[in-house]
């Protein structure tokens, strides 16, 4: 029954008594009409009988369309990325495409190596979640006219389509919320300024709260958030409200607050960014800016797909952000301060 190698188109053709070119046309929905109904039927029958699975590599070699795209993310275990990736996969799959996913861990050399590995698999384009504001590899990609879009983060090259959350608006909502709770001594624990998210959120914060304290975190991690928060409370002990660069930084901030013998939200309010999965189950439940990550992935995939079909100039997409108020923010306690 099962021979050593999987059946080829030629095997199917022979079994159906036709030439492999005819079998090819019969099996491809786009060319089926070029073939008599009877032939199409016989070929399909033999194909299923033999368990024929077309060889995508061979087709790709011939047509130079692989129906694969590369997806670059920093780290899949960062809770931000699974929903984005899932959105990408869902939309790609609808179009018969496959995502080839790689982690870069923020390492430039590794990113370059992975990028080339993906090119050697002849992906038709890239979805990039690792963009930095200045990004030599992406400059190269632009020069070589390699189709790509960025997601969540952008790069400071013109003409690169991006799918982003409306970070500036999210920050404005967060600051307005804290103001409405009577907080006057605000601070921002900013994400890395090499990343567009860190930069945009910080600028929006400065615009909304001129003169307020800002400390930059070394990375978007709980540990970096903890360190930055310690520094912040050392320098500005009377801070009563913190806008964190993202939810992981917020988690680090919560730990720092606890270690300092203070309490969130009684003494200090904390707002995160992203609304990561299970943020509502934390202690305290995290007030945070929700960004529609799954949708972001879907839109990024769609944008790339559009780009691949028509070489037409593409646009960027800004998705709405929305403050979600939970337990980590409270009215400022009227006190001696």
């Amino acid at each position: 029954m099962t021979s050593g190698r999987p059946p080829t188109l030629d095997d199917v053709a022979r079994a159906a008594g036709v030439h492999k070119a005819t079998a090819s046309r019969a099996l491809n929905p786009a060319t089926r009409h070029q073939v008599s109904a009877r032939t199409a039927y016989r070929v399909s029958l033999e194909a299923t009988r033999l368990g024929y699975v077309p060889n995508t590599l061979a087709r790709g070699l011939r047509t130079s369309r692989t129906a694969a795209v590369g997806v670059l993310i920093p780290d899949l275990t960062n809770p931000l990325f699974p929903p984005i990736v899932r959105g990408i996969q869902d939309r790609l799959e609808q179009h018969g495409y496959t995502a080839l996913l790689v982690n870069t861990d923020g390492d430039e050399a590794r990113e370059r190596a992975e990028f080339n590995a993906l090119r050697s698999r002849r992906v038709e384009g890239f979805i990039v979640a690792t963009a930095r504001r200045h990004h030599p590899l992406l400059e190269l990609a632009v020069r070589e006219r390699i189709p790509f879009v960025t997601v969540n983060r952008s790069t400071e090259l013109p003409t690169v389509p991006a799918v982003l959350g409306d970070d500036a608006d999210g920050v404005a909502q967060a600051v307005a919320h804290l103001r409405a709770l009577d907080h006057t001594r605000l601070a921002h624990l900013a994400g890395p300024q090499t990343l567009s998210t860190g930069y945009v959120r910080m600028r929006a914060f400065r615009a909304a709260a001129p003169g307020a304290a800002v400390v930059e975190c070394a990375s978007y991690t709980e540990a970096a958030g903890y360190d930055a928060a310690r520094l912040l409370f050392e320098r500005h002990p009377h801070t009563t409200a913190v806008l964190a660069g993202n939810d992981l930084i917020a988690l680090g901030t919560l730990r720092a607050i606890e270690d300092l013998g203070r309490c969130c939200p009684a003494d200090v309010s904390v707002v995160g960014f992203n609304d990561m999965p299970f943020a509502d189950r934390f202690r305290p439940p995290l007030t945070t800016v929700h960004v529609p990550h799954h949708l972001m992935g879907v839109q990024a995939a769609q944008l790339l797909l559009d780009h691949l079909r028509a070489a037409a100039p593409s646009w960027s997409i800004l998705l709405p952000a929305r403050l979600v108020v939970r337990g980590s923010t409270a009215r400022r306690r009227p006190g001696p301060t």
Copy 2:
């Protein structure tokens, strides 16, 4: 500078003044020694100068080795899977392999379609995290001698290598912990019995706590955990300790306890399973059985790789589970019961 199509091996060969067969040998580390040092150097030089990226599809077509494996998971946004996938990717990458990842959402038809799509890309084998105890598709894969291993869950076919956590031991530890806290009215909210994890944990619970209440959840989700917990407390209101089938079921249980006006851990202790990311940040911090998911992925990838190299009969791997005690379990309150 940049022509329309990417440079081929023949372009490089011509630029270096040799035949493409020679260029091929020069560029492949395994055959470089068949070529003079001078030629090897010249070819490499031209390759980098032209920005040559070998076409993996063409190579794969010729050698029938694609250096790709398919990975089947239920849903990437389930927090259990990112660490496993990351482990798989890390080990695969070390060997120059790539993972092709697909989500099945527990849908059998979809799984079959994805499976065939992956076969059409000529993956060399599969890592399956979607295994059910009875699994027609995997039976087919065994019959057709398609190399695969299962991870986290197993299937009831002999000869299929699996990488699993030691669930039975994890359950034993959890029950011992609850007993040590004086709990006598234990209950288990079991995972689906169609899955090896649900089945094995339930059997281990029955063995450790004969006669104790067991309710099966419809799925490994928070919602199903909530429903099952409501049912449990209706039937067995005096339950003081619950072992949940996994952490998501535990989260549903916590919500049910709250809705019933009771308190965890004061009234009811809850133990989860898996130690999902940020389980320590929940309210209350979740006592749970830690399973080394990243390592699990690494081992699964290694096992498949071994399998691909030597057709030798392979083995299974059982990784240690370890109870992590946090805030959701406490000594039973001496009361009127």
